[in-house]
């Protein structure tokens, strides 16, 4: 499998840190990105510590977001949806394979639900593609549990659904999914279907609350 150098934007948050850990555990170099290098470096050290003794693990370092992107061939966007557009517009993403796992969610007393992006005709991933037209954006890893990512199981019992308009970029995310689930990711279609993958996380959060678990999605029939 191709070894990548992956910038994790929002790498100090639980989803980004957990995915960065899994990618590095399987030999990819990971640059944890944050607003400032000062915030990123201790998290990189924490992940490095966690990987001590793991044979073949990649290197994990920390950097300010734009510096992290500059060093990487693959960029994982793992930032909160609030401020997402401004952040993405400011990053030097041209020429990069960009994987968005951003979930535009809202919470109220009835639970989690999807936020409406562009009147229902958009998604965080599509917004990223519009804001970074010279990057190739795919959507993936929306639904994996941050708790389980940082947990002790070798692999998560979930499938990673990958959407995008460029096959080669989808292949990168599908390959990286193996680091997380032990199985290749599933090609789930065009980028616009990120409109479905992103808010599906609200359904899983709802199930988690009801059943006191960390639910994930598996696709049967493959």
């Amino acid at each position: 499998m191709t070894q990548h150098r992956i910038a994790v934007i929002g790498g100090t948050g639980p989803q980004g840190k957990g995915l960065g850990y899994r990618f590095a555990k399987h030999g990819h170099d990971v640059v944890i990105g944050s607003r400032s290098a000062e915030k990123a470096v201790p998290v990189a050290a924490e992940v490095t510590e966690r990987l001590s003794g793991v044979e073949g693990a990649g290197e994990v370092s920390g950097a300010a977001n734009a510096d992290a992107v500059a060093q990487a061939d693959v960029v994982l966007l793992a930032v909160p949806y609030d401020g997402h557009d401004e952040l993405v517009a400011a990053l030097p993403l041209a020429g990069k394979t960009v994987i968005s796992c951003v979930n535009p969610l809202a919470f109220d007393k009835r639970g989690a639900h999807g936020r409406i992006v562009n009147g229902g005709e958009g998604s965080a991933a599509e917004s990223a593609q519009e804001l970074a037209p010279e990057a190739t954006v795919v959507g993936a890893f929306h639904n994996v549990s941050a708790v389980l990512l940082w947990g002790d199981d070798d692999y998560l019992d979930e499938d990673v659904l990958v959407v995008g308009d460029v096959v080669e970029a989808k292949e990168v995310a599908m390959d990286l999914a193996e680091s997380v689930t032990g199985r290749r990711g599933i090609d789930a279609g065009k980028l616009r279907l990120a409109r479905q993958l992103e808010p599906f996380t609200a359904v899983l959060i709802s199930i988690n609350r009801k059943y006191k678990t960390h639910a994930g999605v598996r696709i049967s029939g493959l």
Copy 2:
């Protein structure tokens, strides 16, 4: 398990016919509904024929939609989204438990995708609830494959996700799910999350096309 008398509105279509077959196979009486009794009766006969020799199977009959509803305690809405609102508004649904598996989808050269209901702040199930305020509407069975429903496997390797605002009505759908999957349905939260379940079918259709299969959703971690 409680035995129900279930009107399947849109029972001559593949999803409705397949679900009606599974429910009747497990002892529920099913009334196949269609625009006219003349269209419903032959489909009811086809399902009855399919059930010959199945011990404990329920009775399957055919009727015009409104007559089917009048006879039933549970109503399954399995109609196309086009014309859905007008049809639902005309049905005598007051007091019934209504299960919607309606998928507002559109298709173009890039594949299946979700249709925007109420600017993204709605779903077919929520529309049905608004149009029939004295019924109790839940959403379920959106993602089960019509081909597999009519197929020979005892059970589908899928989970049925149930959303709704009234627990007792969700319980009915969760129980009925056992007829289809051999497992109880999963309480996936409030009715508004039908906004996520309905268009997720577009993701499965996309996977089906890519992998030449009949994909389904399983929830891990339960």
